[in-house]
Structure formats: C-alpha cells, structure tokens
C-alpha cells in the first residue's frame, strides 16, 4: 500500500518551550472541563445525557423492537403457520408447530409459536418473509430482561398480547 503525497517518514512539529513543559496545556484542558461543568449546572436542558429510565430516547417508527403477533378480528393469531419466517430466520430462533384449525376457511394455525429472544438478532427478516403480515417487530420494546434463560423463550400467548406500550 502506498500513500501518495505523504512524506515517507512522519515528521512531528517541534514543540515550543511552553508546550514541552505541559503545564500550560493541562491548565487549558482543565478550562474546557470546567466550562462544561458550569454549563451543565446552569443549563441542564442542553446536556446530552438522559435520565434513563425516567427519561427515554425517542426512536424512529421503523425501529425493530420485540416481536408481536398480529391478531385477527376475533383475537386469534393471523399467522397460518407457513413457517416462512422460521425458514428465513438467520438466527434460527423461531419454532412453529402447525395444526388443523376448526374453521375450514382458515385450515391451518400455529398450535405453538415460540421465539427465543436471546437468539434473535432483530434483523426483521421474519416480517419481510411473512405472507400474512402476522409478525411485526413494531412494539418498540428494547428493554428485554429476565432472570432466567427460559423466560426469554416467549410463546404464542405472550406474542399475541405483546402491546407496544410495554404492558402485556
């Protein structure tokens, strides 16, 4: 690799006497720090830090949060268990079992629908793949915490009532 136009050897600027004793530069640096400190004490609104969790950042509407299964009008899942999402999923985190629906016009529904949130990479390919618009990552929920690995495997009931306001 060659760097055209650059000298073959780096040549530093020779420091002046004041620079070489560092003391002046330390005082200048402290000046910057103290000016920020003063600004943050007297103008808190201008401070970039947020008071999380009381205060939360506003994300784009397209932010991909925790998944949510869409419901039909009668509250049953819109999903027909075609398993396009689990086929497409690069993290292999979706497990679906299909079964015969009592309504012959629907035919197939997911008897179980599980997502392992620890495996999920929130890429959104599942909602791309879904032919029924049954799975969305539109809840905006990114605070996904639990005290047990098993609790990260969420089931159909959880996903169906997984509201965007964070309540269940």
């Amino acid at each position: 690799m060659s760097f055209e136009g650059l000298p073959a050897k780096a040549t530093g600027k020779k420091m002046t006497f004041l620079e070489s004793i560092y003391l002046v530069e330390i005082v200048r640096g402290l000046g910057v720090t103290i000016s920020h400190l003063v600004k943050n004490i007297f103008a808190t609104e201008a401070m970039p830090t947020m008071q999380y969790p009381e205060e939360k950042r506003v994300y784009s509407d397209r932010f991909r949060g925790r998944h949510h299964l869409m419901q039909r009008e009668d509250g049953t899942p819109r999903c027909v268990a075609c398993q396009m999402c689990s086929t497409y999923c690069p993290a292999d985190c979706i497990t679906i079992e299909g079964a015969e629906h009592p309504d012959p016009s629907i035919e197939k529904y997911p008897a179980s629908f599980e997502i392992d949130l620890l495996r999920c990479v929130f890429c959104g390919l599942c909602e791309e793949a879904c032919p029924c618009d049954a799975i969305r990552l539109d809840t905006g929920i990114y605070e996904i915490a639990a005290d047990d690995r098993a609790k990260f495997v969420v089931d159909k009931e959880f996903l169906l009532h997984n509201k965007s306001d964070g309540t269940r």
């Binding site: 027909v80 268990a81 075609c82 398993q83 396009m84 086929t87 299909g98 079964a99 015969e100 012959p104 016009s105 035919e107 197939k108 032919p131 029924c132």
Partner: protein, 507 residues
C-alpha cells in the same frame, strides 16, 4: 432406431419412443408437464409439453407424439416457451395460491414450473376465481383440495390402471370441472398415498403428514421398507432425529415407483412409546456398563433369531451360538394380508435371509420344547415368539433368558435380561427380499434412548470373537454365503439379484 434433431442436437432413440422421452434425453431435463407420468397411460390434457416440429403447422404435445426418423424439433424457441407460459397461466387462473398453508409447497409442480417457465404477472382478481370445496377428506389417508387441482388426471389414471379400483374421476365441465371420488365411494385402497405422490400440485395431500412439517426442512435417507418380504425401496424423510414420512424410491426390479400405505405408516413404530430404551434385568433398569453376561456362561444353549433381523445380525447370532442350537424364529409368524401389487403375505423383511444362512424356523410347540430342553442360555433376538403362550411359558420356566429387541412385548416380559436394540431406521444392514435380492439400508435417525445397534450387542455378548466393525462382519458374511465376488459393503443401487434372476425395466 430413429434419428432426430432436437434443439439442433442429433440423437438416436429406439422406434416407438415418445417424443417426450426423446426430448428429455436431448435436453437433459424433462419438458414442462403435469399429466405425463412414465408409469401411466398418456392423457395429453395439460398441454404443457408442446414443442415445435418442423413440417407441422401447429405446436404439438410431445407426450402423445411418437418419434419419426428425420424429425426436427425445437423445445426452447420463443413460440414454444410462450405457449408453455400461457398454458401455465391458464392452469393457474382458478388456483387459490394458498401456498402458505399447502403441504405440497416446496415440492410442487406449479411452484417449480412457474419459477421456471411462468414468471408472468397474474391478471386474475382473487375475487373472480372459481371457488371449490377445500380440505375434503376422501379416504383414510388422503385429503382433497379441489381448488388446487389442475385436472391432470394422474390420480384417476392411477386408480384405473395400477390399482384397478377406479375410485376417482373428473366431474362437471369447464371451469367447474373438478376431481372427486365416485358417489358413495372412498379412496380406500392400500395404495392411495401414491396418488398424493404423483399429484403434481397440492390437490391430494396426506392426512397423516398434514401440517407436520414443511417439506424443505426434511432430510432424506435411502432405506428399504421392513413391512413385508417385497422390500420396497424407500426414502425416509426425517428432521431432528424424527421420521415424518416414508416415500417410495424408484427401483424397477422391486417396486417401480410405488409402495403401499401400510408400509408408509411403519415410521410410527420408530417413535413408539413402547420402545425398549434401557437394558433391564428382572425388571430393574441397568446401565450398559453394569451389564453382566453371566447368564450366557456355559456351553450349548438355544439361539433364536427372527425374520425381522438383518443378514449380518442373523450371521452374528449364529456365530455367537457356536456349539448351541440356532433357530430362525417362529414359523409362520407375522403373516397377513397380501395383494397382487406389492404387499406380500409374509410381513417380515428378511425371511429369505433365514434360508440363506440355513436357520430353520420352528413352530410354537417345538420351540417351547427346545427352550425347556436346553440347559444352556436362551437368547432371543427380535421378533415375538412369546406371542404364543407355550413359548412364553417355556421362557418363564427357563432361568437364563436374554431378549434383544426394539419394542416391549410378551417376549421382553418373559425374559430375564432385556437388551434394547435398534429399529431398522436406526441401524445399517442387509435384507434379502422375497426373490432373495440383497438390499442394503443405512441409518437415518439417531437411536432412541440408550439402545444400541444389534450387531454391536451381539459382538459384545460374543466377547471379542467377532469382528469389530460392520464392514468386517459383512466381509465374513460374504465368505459364509459363498459370495466371494461380491462386495456386501457396496451393493448395487437396485440390490443384488440372486443368481439367475433377470433384471427388468429401464433406469
């Protein structure tokens, strides 16, 4: 022989060949088609395989045209591809395109051919499509969706020509034409699931496999059906250690392209709750490491195999027997229904193997007497001889009995030591079918519980006097069977025909 030019390529085929087959040979892939099937009569109803023949004003369907010397045929020019595209569009006019809930998706003729020859934008509104009955149960194994049908009539011809039962037919005309069973008739024959195989779309699907798995997730393993002496060549579709279905595999010398419904359901036994999972002695579960073979001590003894075991296992049991008596199991066990097509009355896969290894079968009384008469150990390998009460009583009366088997049954109950063996899908082996044809099968799924391959169990019981690999067992077996010029480790794909048998059919 006829010489013809297809897409500028000259080929020579025997007289009487159909143009469809000639085109397949020249192109290396078949023409688009739905109704053509090599084992059924020509219907010529789907009109997809149209080709341009020089001298003919219109396009002609290749399946119903014979080859002629000097024919010049185009299968890939614009006129032909456009015709295929338009015909396909017509087939799809009333198709519901419900691929997400269709079990055929992934192995569907419509999907594949649309991606290959279609790729047009549909001009039909969903609301304008003709609706027909969906999810109709038409028999014990088959479910019908009339909307998905493209009226290729393969199932109708199968029931007319192969089974001769004629349950299916096409009713009504025009866009109301639909496939169905004759009034008051169910599609209830032992070969009904073959209609599911040959259905190019999702109109006929299996009730047993319905919604179990999407087909692209399944892995296939070649095997041999253990259901009867015919030994149909099959494909086991499995995923994550579980079998989901059995499909026939083409072998013109044995089963052609078909297999029976009874054989297809045998995968269920692999995941049966009744499986023996751990070694047990007197009802107490053991670990393999704790196994004490003191029961086998002493000379003589009686060693009973069964026609369900592979040739290698029979051979090893015979070796294990050494000075003792060897018996091929209960005479006449596991016999039942048969038909003229494939199902044999002998419902064991390897009774010919008993003959090859000279293991005589005994009837219940004789076997019971032999058990009571021996002072040595009694080893029963597979089968269920204690299904007969006299044998069960004799086994209970004898103190040193060992059963090696895959499922819990009367014999397992009657024996002191029970060792869990593998079922056919969990091990490799060779069966000799009703004609004595040797066919190899290999392992497709992991063994249940702590069960072991039977040959390993037998090798362990024999204690170092037998070879340590199945490969070596087969080499010894070949020697014992006097098959010196045959490599049992690499049997031909169609199986090894017994000397003097003729091979039939094309590849």
């Amino acid at each position: 022989m006829a010489k013809l030019t297809i897409d500028g390529k000259e080929i020579e085929v025997p007289d009487g060949t159909s143009l469809f087959d000639a085109c397949r040979e020249a192109r290396g892939e078949p023409l688009p088609h739905f109704c053509y099937h090599p084992d059924l009569s020509i219907a010529g109803v789907c009109r997809l395989c149209q080709v341009e023949v020089e001298g003919m004003p219109k396009l002609t369907i290749a399946c119903n045209t014979g080859v002629r010397d000097g024919m010049v045929v185009s299968t890939r020019n614009e006129r032909v591809t456009q015709a295929a595209q338009q015909i396909l569009e017509m087939h799809l006019i009333n198709h519901p395109v419900d691929c997400p809930i269709c079990d055929q998706a992934g192995e569907c003729g419509l999907q594949n051919q649309y991606m290959k020859y279609g790729l047009y934008d549909s001009e039909v509104e969903i609301a304008d499509k003709v609706n027909k009955a969906k999810a109709q149960v038409i028999g014990p194994h088959v479910i019908l969706d009339k909307e998905r049908c493209v009226l290729c009539s393969r199932c109708v011809r199968f029931c007319d020509e192969v089974t001769g039962t004629s349950e299916m037919g096409i009713f009504n005309r025009g866009n109301r034409a639909e496939i169905g069973t004759a009034p008051g008739v169910e599609l209830d024959n032992n070969y009904s699931l073959n209609t599911v195989d040959i259905c190019p779309v999702g109109a006929l699907t299996s009730r047993d496999f319905r919604f179990q798995k999407r087909v692209w997730m399944l892995k296939a393993a070649n095997s041999i059906c253990p259901g009867c002496a015919t030994g149909c060549n099959v494909r086991l579709d499995h995923e994550a250690g579980r079998l989901y279905r059995i499909k026939p595999r083409y072998n013109p010398d044995v089963n052609g392209r078909w297999m029976c419904d009874r054989g297809r359901m045998l995968y269920k036994a692999v995941h049966d709750e009744n499986r023996l999972l751990d070694p047990a002695r007197g009802g107490q579960t053991l670990r393999w490491a704790e196994l004490d073979t003191d029961l086998l001590a002493g000379d003589g003894g009686l060693f009973v195999t069964s026609a369900h075991q592979s040739l290698e296992e029979m051979f090893l049991l015979k070796k294990l027997a050494a000075g003792g008596t060897v018996c091929g199991g209960l005479a006449g066990s596991d016999t039942g229904d048969s038909d003229e097509l494939l199902l044999n009355a002998d419902h064991t896969p390897n009774r010919q193997g008993l003959g090859l290894l000279d293991l005589p079968e005994m009837n219940g009384a004789a076997l019971a007497e032999a058990i009571s008469g021996t002072t040595g150990p009694v080893v029963v390998h597979g089968g269920n001889p204690a299904g007969e009460d006299v044998v069960a009583a004799a086994l209970r009366g004898h103190g040193r009995t060992v059963y090696i088997g895959s499922h819990d049954n009367e014999t397992a109950q009657a024996c002191n030591l029970v060792l869990p063996g593998a079922v056919w899908a969990e091990k490799a082996g060779i069966f000799a079918n009703r004609d004595g044809r040797l066919q190899a099968f290999s392992q497709s799924v992991a063994r249940a519980g702590s069960s072991r391959e039977d040959w390993r169990i037998l090798a362990e019981l024999a204690g170092g006097e037998v070879p340590g690999s199945l490969r070596a067992v087969r080499e010894e077996l070949a020697e014992a069977l006097d098959l010196t010029e045959v490599n049992l480790n690499k049997l031909p794909a169609r199986g090894l025909a017994p000397v003097g048998a003729t091979s039939g059919g094309e590849d």
